[in-house]
């Protein structure tokens, strides 16, 4: 066991820091921020992602032959750490990188890898995810979107929901029913769908924070070439499970952890600067207990992710451990924002841009957003089923 970094790993970090110092706009995070407008922000993030790619910082641990850097999982973790350290913008094509790319890399044909992977890394293709449907949420295997084969083409009809960033996407990977007569897990296929195809329409779906990150996406006689299937026909459930393991896995968790850790640091700074009567709020022993509990939980998020990275490095398969990671971080983060609201009382309700809002009013929005953590990417109930059945071997 060793938590220290090798000279090569430290070198990677140094190079990245140097590059970032040049690449970020002057005053970034202090006087210069992301655009407020949702669309402008999306374009800003896309531009940043393309800049990373141009600098050679896209696909850190992907093979060089598909446009990646060929580095290690540890270097990927360092990358996430450094990006967060400087508060770098998020990417727009996270689903492309983490899910579409990882799935194609594992299960795609050579032709698919050659075509799609470089275009993901360059963010020429932004991706969205077509899994959930109105009646297939936790029960994902009950998707009804049909794909009927006609010659060299699938004809896709149906409706997907929670398709994040669909409005900016060139491609969508979707779980569709190709055999309506088979048992529900057995009749599914995993298709790659060009979002420019005729018959696709998108309706934005507002979430409780007021933002429109999600969409409903409708497919009306959409034609998809049969070459755009990943894996065999009717073997889509197995492919989708790979996607989900990446969605819930340590790469995703580590990136989030660093942002939560920054938010927590900001919270502590805010509390330290908040007067409460004759003293400062940070001196309140009850407040300190709550903060320390979150400090611990956020650190444990990181350690969980790093331990799981180590298992993969040491050759273990990706399995239900991704559910352990996701169940942990989602609840710990909710606890943190709930604690933030508790601690900031009585002014907890005051939000940005009110001059009296604590910490620039970021915590109210994050608090509301955090309610989705335990629902998306598989609800906590589903994660507990997976852990109970697949990790602990309890009966169905």
């Amino acid at each position: 066991m060793d938590f220290s970094y090798s000279p090569q790993e430290e070198g990677f970090r140094t190079d990245l820091r140097a590059w970032l110092a040049d690449a970020l706009p002057p005053g970034w995070g202090e006087t210069v921020f992301e655009p407020e407008d949702e669309d402008e922000r999306a374009m800003f993030r896309l531009a940043w992602e393309k800049k990373l790619h141009a600098g050679g910082w896209s696909g850190i641990n992907w093979p060089v032959e598909y446009g990646g850097r060929g580095a290690t999982l540890v270097e990927r973790a360092i990358f996430a750490e450094e990006m967060a350290r400087v508060g770098a913008p998020e990417g727009l094509n996270i689903i492309g990188h983490n899910l579409a790319g990882s799935t194609i890399l594992r299960h795609g044909t050579e032709a698919q890898k050659q075509y799609f992977l470089p275009r993901i890394l360059s963010s020429e293709d932004v991706w969205c995810q077509g899994f959930s449907e109105p009646n297939a949420g936790s029960d994902l295997a009950s998707v009804r979107t049909r794909a009927e084969r006609r010659g060299d083409t699938f004809i896709v009809n149906g409706q997907k929901i929670w398709t994040s960033f669909a409005q900016y996407s060139q491609w969508c990977f979707a779980l569709v029913r190709t055999d309506p007569d088979a048992p529900k897990h057995k009749g599914l296929s995993f298709l790659l769908i060009d979002m420019k195809s005729p018959g696709i329409s998108i309706r934005p779906l507002r979430q409780i924070s007021g933002e429109c990150e999600f969409n409903e996406t409708f497919f009306d006689d959409v034609e998809v070439p049969v070459d755009n299937i990943v894996g065999d026909i009717n073997d889509g459930w197995r492919i989708a499970m790979t996607t989900l393991a990446y969605e819930r896995g340590p790469e995703d968790a580590l990136g989030r952890q660093i942002r939560f850790s920054q938010e927590l640091e900001k919270l502590i700074d805010t509390v330290a600067a908040t007067p409460r009567g004759d003293a400062m709020l940070i001196e309140d022993p009850i407040v300190r207990q709550k903060l320390a509990r979150s400090v611990t939980e956020v650190e444990v998020m990181r350690l969980n992710a790093v331990r799981t990275f180590s298992k993969y490095l040491n050759g273990d398969d990706r399995g239900p451990d991704a559910s352990v990671i996701k169940l942990y971080w989602s609840h710990a983060a909710q606890n943190m924002y709930e604690a933030a609201m508790d601690i900031l009382g009585p002014t907890a309700p005051i939000a940005a841009p009110d001059p009296l809002s604590a910490g620039g009013g970021r915590f109210q929005l994050s608090y509301l957003q955090s309610k989705a953590f335990t629902i998306y990417s598989g609800s906590s109930e589903i994660q507990r089923n997976i852990i109970g059945e697949r990790m602990l071997g309890l009966p169905r």
Partner: protein
């Protein structure tokens, strides 16, 4: 001894609930669209604001326990906070107002003519009313109040202020000289939370509420407000529980209603227990306030602390049980999350009230030991 409501009390709750249901925007998805001034008039026409006013002043002469279910309904229906604020202020004026104040204000309250907002909190202070910095002096009231619900639509402000070296409540007209009002940006735009700046604000005639020498006016206000907020929190929690149970009965996944799964069923059961427990705490507090029982402050704090936690937990769980639908804007569950945060932090959060419970408990225990020794 009987811990049940009578038919009149129940019917009052049902009537308020039915009235609010006629204004669907109140619980609609957009908090900015939820402030319909017609609601106030409808409640006034119903006679809600006459209930706590004594008959001698044109009211019905009921007590807080009589309106407990009506207040639950205000919470459940996300009614404009000014309704609750006015009722809390009515209780204070009835209990602690001078004869002149009662004569001049109560008849106008009864008809719905006067909306009264409660201006308590200040920036940089905690919840403790004794920490207030606003001062009433010869040239009016000076200070800055934050998080005053519906201040912008109020006629009067009941302002917590230092008065003659103590702490008291002072009446200020909203349109008086020296009063300026600014909307907060906040988590619940439907609560109309405002910052109120008082710069030598002109006092009403006979502005100081509280009989000379009565030290109970501020504690009574804190208790009445805590109890009313606890009641509203329970109304919200009960409504969210119903929503969760209804959804669990109808939403099918894995071939059965999700309410058949123990993970959902047991959580609904725990919520039901929490709602019953919270109601026990709240109803008892309503009774102690109505009777001005010696246990009033302790029970008010128990209700506020406990019901605030119950409402928070139930709102969170209800979102979770609704899955993806739970965090859509359109379904509007977030309206309850938002309002619950406002109620939770109004008039003391659970930490402040638990501390107060402990102080009250130790005082009672010491008094009991003393009595036993004597």
């Amino acid at each position: 001894m009987n811990f049940g409501f009578n038919e009149e009390q129940k019917s009052l709750g049902d009537t308020v609930a039915a009235l609010l249901a006629d204004f669907p925007a109140l619980t609609g998805p957009d908090p900015a669209q939820a402030r319909d001034p017609a609601v106030w008039q409808a409640l006034a026409d119903l006679g809600l604001f006459a209930l706590l006013v004594p008959e001698a002043h044109g009211g019905v002469g009921l007590t807080l326990v009589d309106v407990a279910l009506a207040i639950e309904a205000l919470g459940a229906g996300l009614a404009p906070p000014i309704a609750a604020s006015t009722m809390i202020a009515t209780d204070i004026i009835v209990r602690e107002g001078t004869a002149a104040q009662q004569a001049s204000l109560l008849p106008r309250i009864a008809t719905g003519e006067l909306r009264i907002a409660l201006a308590m909190l200040e920036n940089g202070q905690g919840y403790d009313p004794d920490a207030v910095q606003t001062v009433m002096g010869g040239n009016g009231v000076t200070g800055s109040k934050i998080l005053v619900p519906d201040a912008d639509i109020a006629d009067l402000l009941l302002v917590l202020s230092r008065v003659d070296g103590g702490v008291g409540l002072v009446l200020v007209a909203r349109d008086a000289r020296g009063v300026s009002i600014r909307h907060h940006a906040d988590i619940d735009p439907s609560s109309g939370l405002c910052e109120v700046t008082l710069d030598g604000a002109a006092l009403m005639d006979d502005a100081l509420v509280g009989h000379a020498g009565s030290g109970d006016v501020v504690p009574r206000l804190m208790d009445a407000a805590a109890i009313v907020y606890a009641g509203m929190a329970m109304g919200m929690a009960a409504r969210m529980l119903d929503a969760a149970v209804d959804y669990a009965k109808t939403r099918v996944q894995f071939g059965q209603p999700i309410g058949a799964f123990q993970s959902i069923k047991h959580r609904c059961a725990d919520m039901a227990v929490a709602v019953e427990a919270g109601r026990s705490a709240a109803y008892y507090a309503f009774w102690t306030a109505a009777e001005n029982d010696p246990d009033r402050s302790r029970s008010a704090s128990m209700a506020k602390a406990y019901c605030g936690e119950v409402a928070r937990d139930v709102c969170n769980e209800t979102v979770q049980i609704h899955g993806g639908m739970g965090f859509t804007w359109e379904l509007g569950l977030h309206r309850f999350l938002r309002r619950a945060k406002v109620l939770e932090h109004g008039f003391g959060n659970h930490v402040w009230h638990y501390e107060r419970i402990m102080a009250e408990t130790l005082a009672a225990q010491a008094a009991g030991d003393k009595a036993q020794a004597a």
